[in-house]
């Protein structure tokens, strides 16, 4: 196993398109790092550069301490699982897995031992003689995994390996891949656009956008302390509620006002984020997670400066909880929701974001579509961002 280092790695295509810009990232031996981001963010290009399938324009890539920029793929000792599996269609499952070992002249009985062991781990033993076309999507995915495992390589690269599977199988394989990775202790780079995969599988998650690394952190920190507006809106489902507000100081307290609503910034929040004091009297983007909102009936003690007068527009009952999509009364049209800011920054490339807020309420919260409701925000857990740079202000409370 080996550590992988991106040192200001840049990829510019001949037509001038910059796919990855100055990517610097250290991946420790045995670590599971997930590269996540929307389509075209450069995550797959970064992975392919590690595999040696894409030339590096500038910067240095090191695998196990050796500069790998000009190494051929076969010299890198790295295994890769492709999005479409890329199995050898004319070879049986056994030979798909054995191929890499055969061309390395590994003794026959050793090949046999490793292939059968991988097949056992992946539950493929009864399919060894089949051709890939006679397998289901999930089985093909396992063969692709098996082909990587038998190599016992320095690192695993996985390019959206679950995206062609149905929802249930994806959940199963997600756990399976995480289990195998832990069992083998292999350095792994996993590319996905699915933030649930990113959050559940990785030791660390690297969020990319437009070829630029936005933040690398443990999943919880990424969720709790997003470095900028993009990460805040990308990580978490439902996405963080973000709204442009003016931060006003009033008799020693800070209030963020948006439309007719006003939320008082709690002392705990102010202590955790002293930087916001400098923004008094200025505009900021304020963010709050959907689970930090409750309905007023379950928090009767909450003061008026924590309450929002909402109009419930859509109510999604999920059994264990209710997702309430709401607007803030008549003033909704006048509010610049920060989703718009992000879209502007993306040049409209990212998916259109909801113009509504979302609250995650208890399963028996008395909210009905089209009706007004009073909601309470946990103002200890507000997030603040600079509206110009999009950067987070201070560190949010963990």
């Amino acid at each position: 196993m080996a550590e992988i280092t991106f040192d200001r790695v840049t990829k510019v295509y001949p037509d001038g398109t910059s796919a990855v810009s100055e990517l610097s990232l250290d991946i420790a031996d045995g670590e599971f790092v997930v590269l996540v981001g929307p389509s075209g963010c450069g995550k797959t290009t970064a992975l392919r550069m590690v595999a040696g399938l894409e030339e590096i324009s500038r910067g240095e890539l090191r695998i196990g301490g050796r500069v790998a920029n000009h190494m051929l793929p076969r010299g890198r000792d790295i295994a890769m699982v492709f999005q479409n599996y890329a199995l050898y269609p004319q070879k049986s499952v056994y030979n798909n897995m054995a191929f890499a070992l055969k061309i390395r002249n590994v003794p026959k009985d050793e090949i046999d031992r490793r292939v059968r062991e991988a097949a056992r781990i992946l539950g493929l033993t009864q399919y060894l003689e089949r051709k890939p076309k006679a397998l289901s999507g999930g089985q093909r995915q396992r063969v692709a995994m098996g082909r990587a495992i038998v190599r016992e390589p320095q690192a695993f690269l996985m390019d959206e390996p679950l995206s062609n599977l149905d929802a249930k199988l994806r959940v199963d394989m997600r756990a399976e891949i995480a289990r195998i990775q832990r069992m083998l202790g292999a350095t792994t780079i996993y590319v996905t656009h699915d933030q649930v995969e990113a959050m559940t599988m990785g030791d660390r998650v690297a969020v990319m956008r437009g070829g630029i690394l936005q933040q690398v952190d443990a999943p919880e920190r990424l969720y709790e302390q997003p470095a900028n507006l993009f990460v805040a809106s990308f990580i978490g489902s439902p996405a963080m509620n973000l709204v442009e507000a003016s931060l006003e100081a009033e008799s020693g307290r800070l209030h963020c006002r948006f439309g007719d609503s006003s939320l008082a910034v709690s002392d705990i929040c102010r202590q955790a984020r002293p930087e916001i004091e400098a923004y008094a009297g200025r505009r900021v983007v304020v963010g709050f997670r959907s689970e930090d909102i409750t309905d007023a009936t379950s928090a009767p003690e909450a003061g008026a400066d924590r309450r929002l007068k909402a109009v419930i527009e859509v109510r999604e009952a999920l059994g264990s909880e209710i997702l309430a999509h709401f607007s803030l009364g008549e003033e909704r049209a006048g509010l610049a929701l920060a989703g718009d800011v992000i879209e502007e920054q993306d040049g409209g490339a990212s998916s259109p974001r909801s113009r509504r807020f979302v609250a995650r309420l208890g399963p028996r919260a008395p909210v009905r579509e089209g009706e007004r409701a009073e909601l309470v925000v946990d103002t200890d857990r507000l997030h603040f961002f600079d509206p110009e740079s999009g950067l987070a202000l201070g560190r949010s409370r963990t």
């Binding site: 595999a51 040696g52 793929p73 076969r74 295994a79 890329a86 199995l87 050898y88 061309i103």
Partner: protein, 303 residues
């Protein structure tokens, strides 16, 4: 309720028994299919089956185009004693040796073009050009190329009449044939390569394969069907499309050294007016082609 239902049910059963019996849908479909295929069937019988039967009949006669005398199956045994017949068969066999070259060279070209080497679009047109030129023109160009003191002699610095010498004429013909097949086969292989999933090649490289290992383990197995198709077409061309080339380049000579079965049929029939014997050679050619076709089909089906 029962009083209402019973009369309706009764009237239905009466209707059913009075209605004329309809054909089942599957029978109707089968009949329609038969009716619709009659015109095609008639054409095949008129222009393929009857001529074949006639050819078999005439192959056992002595026929000068006007009068025919029945000889019987002994016509075949007589033919098998004709040394010219065996030389012609040998020529056909030797031409088959050119087939691997007519496949391997286009395969190499197609792989290079597929790699998008510099100027690949230009070269693609260049290699396809022979396909767009008539066999007669190809033959005339080749005749000049191989002529005594022609371009080839100048290149290799000799004074040989390649087409005039029985030891080199067939080779010259084979080279021309290979050259003329390059375009078609290159296009077939390029089509095959275009359908190759490049990630499978990438997977092979990541698995540690060299360029050759990737070619032999991924590209070539993928191209198997395309190679089979090109093989069939090339063999068929070698047996049945070289008439114009031979006619223009050598006229089948010197002696019988470049006469193939196809040309032999023409010579025997139209130069020597032995239509019965020509029909016999036609039958032999037909059997040869049939054997190639059947073997090929077996190979494809066996997968």
């Amino acid at each position: 309720m029962a009083a209402l239902v019973t009369p309706v049910a009764m009237s239905r059963s009466v209707e059913r028994s009075q209605r004329p019996r309809r054909m089942r849908l599957s029978t109707q479909r089968r009949l329609t299919g038969l009716v619709l295929s009659i015109p095609a069937l008639a054409l095949v019988v008129a222009f393929v089956v009857i001529p074949i039967v006639q050819a078999v009949y005439y192959s056992m006669t002595q026929w000068n185009g006007v009068t025919s005398t029945w000889i019987g199956p002994s016509a075949y045994t007589q033919t098998f004693h004709n040394p010219a017949f065996w030389q012609v068969l040998t020529n056909n066999g030797l031409l088959l040796l050119a087939v691997p070259f007519a496949l391997a060279i286009p395969l190499g070209i197609a792989v290079l073009l597929h790699e998008r080497v510099r100027g690949w679009k230009f070269f693609r047109s260049v290699y396809f050009l022979p396909t767009a030129i008539s066999w007669v023109v190809i033959g005339m160009v080749a005749e000049r190329f191989f002529a005594y003191d022609g371009p080839l002699d100048k290149i290799i610095g000799s004074h040989t009449d390649f087409l005039g010498s029985s030891s080199t004429a067939l080779l010259a013909l084979a080279i021309t044939f290979v050259w003329s097949m390059i375009g078609t086969n290159t296009v077939i292989f390029l089509t095959g390569l275009a359908t190759l999933d490049t990630t499978v090649q990438e997977a092979a490289f990541v698995d540690g394969a060299t360029a050759w290992q990737s070619f032999s383990n991924v590209t070539l197995p993928h191209l198997k069907r395309f190679v089979q198709l090109a093989f069939i077409m090339t063999v068929i061309s070698a047996f049945s499309a070289l008439f114009s080339l031979i006619f223009v380049m050598t006229g089948g000579g010197p002696g019988y050294s470049t006469t193939t079965m196809e040309f032999f049929v023409y010579q025997t029939g139209f130069s020597q007016s032995e239509f019965g014997t020509a029909a016999l050679y036609g039958i032999v050619l037909f059997v040869m082609m049939a054997v190639v076709g059947i073997v090929q089909l077996k190979l494809i089906r066996s997968e």
